[in-house]
């Protein structure tokens, strides 16, 4: 695992609050035993008109955002089901960071473990970013996790994230398994002290 201190890329807006994980990856795409083929289902019901089967006019379908690797959204992004299929499908579609007003907790943890930073910005900063991206789809947006700053064009604005997530990303320790396994003695001692194990 390498350290993630900065993420840069083009961005696309998925407007709205409470974008739930059923939206991100409809359950019909979860009939699988690996995460390998999840990209196809990402935001499927948003991207495809259910009545006609044709692509909708959503920004995710807009060729001008084809190279986007950052998602901009609203409040409570990733709420609902705990399915890690949701961040996996986003990651496997080429996205490397999400900025929103706020995130649901389980989604947040799943994304961090994947090495996909989720950062929060104010509604006003996000609206300005979104508007700018719409007009300048090739603009580079950068999230600096050390300085906790986002930048695009000649604008910079502050971003926030829980310190634990930030430190795990910038130290490259966002996949915790190795560290958890180092503590086997302590794990066994904890188990021993619990009456029911």
């Amino acid at each position: 695992m390498s350290a993630i201190t900065k993420v840069s890329g083009k961005a696309v807006t998925v407007a709205g609050n409470d974008i739930d994980t059923d939206r991100i990856i409809p359950a019909k795409f979860m009939k699988c035993v690996t995460f390998d083929d999840l990209a196809e289902g990402m935001f499927y019901d948003v991207k495809v008109n259910p009545n006609t089967g044709e692509l909708t006019e959503h920004p995710l379908n807009d060729p001008k955002h084809a190279e986007a690797s950052i998602i901009i959204s609203g409040e409570n992004f990733g709420c609902g089901s705990s399915r890690e299929h949701a961040p996996q499908s986003i990651y496997r579609s080429g996205f490397r960071a999400i900025i929103a007003e706020s995130f649901a907790e389980i989604f947040y943890g799943n994304s961090t473990t994947l090495g996909m930073p989720c950062v929060c910005g104010s509604a006003a900063d996000l609206a300005a970013l979104s508007e700018y991206i719409d007009e300048n789809p090739t603009a580079e947006v950068t999230f600096d996790l050390e300085a906790l700053q986002a930048s695009y064009g000649d604008v910079t604005f502050p971003i926030t994230m829980p310190e634990s997530a930030r430190s795990s990303l910038i130290s490259g320790k966002f996949d915790p398994l190795a560290e958890l396994m180092e503590n086997m003695d302590k794990i066994e001692a904890t188990a021993e002290a619990l009456p029911y194990i």
């Binding site: 035993v33 495809v48 907790e105 389980i106 634990s164 430190s167 130290s171 396994m181 619990l194």
Partner: protein
Amino acid sequence: MGKTLYEKVWDAHSVGTLADGRTQLFIGTHLIHEVTSPQAFGMLRDKGIKVKYPHRTFATVDHIVPTDNQASPLADPLAEKMIQEIRKNTEEFGVTYFDLASGKQGVVHIVGPEQGITQPGTTIACGDSHTATHGAFGAIAFGIGTTQVRDVLATQTMTMEKLKVRKIIVNGELRPGVYAKDVSLHIIRLLGAKGGIGYAYEYAGSTFDNFTMEERMTVCNMAIEGGARCGYVNPDQITFDYLEGRPYSPTGAEWDKAVEGWKAFASDADAEYADVVEINAADIEPTVTWGVSPDQGISIGETIPDPANAKTEADRVSFQDALDYMKLPAGAPIKGTKIDVAFLGSCTNGRLSDFREAAKYLKGHKVADGIKAIAVPGSQITAIQCEKEGIDKIFTDAGFEWRAAGCSMCLAMNPDKLIGDQICASSSNRNFKGRQGSSIGRTVLMSPVMVVAAAVKGELADAREVFNVA
């Protein structure tokens, strides 16, 4: 100063602090199902890692099982592949698995309590957001992602950040025709779908004290719909009575010791809370959702909100979006809205008491013409008990289909799905767009008795009027 149950359980299960400042938390009980576990077992296999405490993980199959024809192999080859995979994984790694043939299979959050696996003072994790259900027993229970399922399998621990605790006190008696589900929808409506982010909810007050375990489970189940990763009720005699004699409950002298230990986990009278909310039970009405988020709820007697009256611009936009999707007129009464489907089941309301209560009123009535109505017990044990009591017969006589145990129409991973823009009166927990299997399908959440009232009338109805509940 005293401690909350959350703090006591947290302290007892803390292994240590990790480099990023989070806690390494011991998970006493790990529940798994077929959808979110195969990738985790795959990761273990890739790394050559064994399951640390195989006897602390319990598996079942629920999301993908058909509720009509369960003959092997399953008709859907993808579903068959998933069931084969969980059989293989649990066998290879030595994990207890309640398969279709076990007589104990069902929705994972119904099976755990039924078997006595869910116990007070424990930490419980499952790759499923409705794990909060188990908090009804005074456990700290929460949903996790698949990578964390891997972590728990490999180490029986995971990284976790401590939550704040909000105490939600509901006092008094619920009025006739008002149920635990209404309490749940009412709380979410009041505090919002994201109001609980960063919190564990402690449900307290005389209403909860008097609730049965099944009612407590219904409310804890939907903690996540209010943004709270876990919700719990302090363990008491009702909890212990429920657990006594269940297959995995302690017995004999062990039982007495366990009960003493469990009692000590309950929140102290002088515990401090980050926040306290008080609700009067008598203020709660039979509640239904009108939108696409569980906090978009109103009582059955109210009118559908008009976006023009929304408090903020963001609310106005999301109200309008919800109404467009639901195809409901702003300002009109919600009562009388025609439905197409009635679904009674899920880990929120698929337990014996839900079917008993619904059957009590449904008896002698008929499902309205043209309505597809299905009743799906949450577990095989629930199904058998209902069948013993003749509850299945009441449902089938009324025109409901009586199905086999599973998640069914709560989500779209098995053949039970809405078609086109059908609108469903549902006892499940999520009214998200597309949740029930059609990307334009519509869900209205409500209590089981309200579901059967809607089925009988063919439209959203006040069960108290339909069944003369006084």
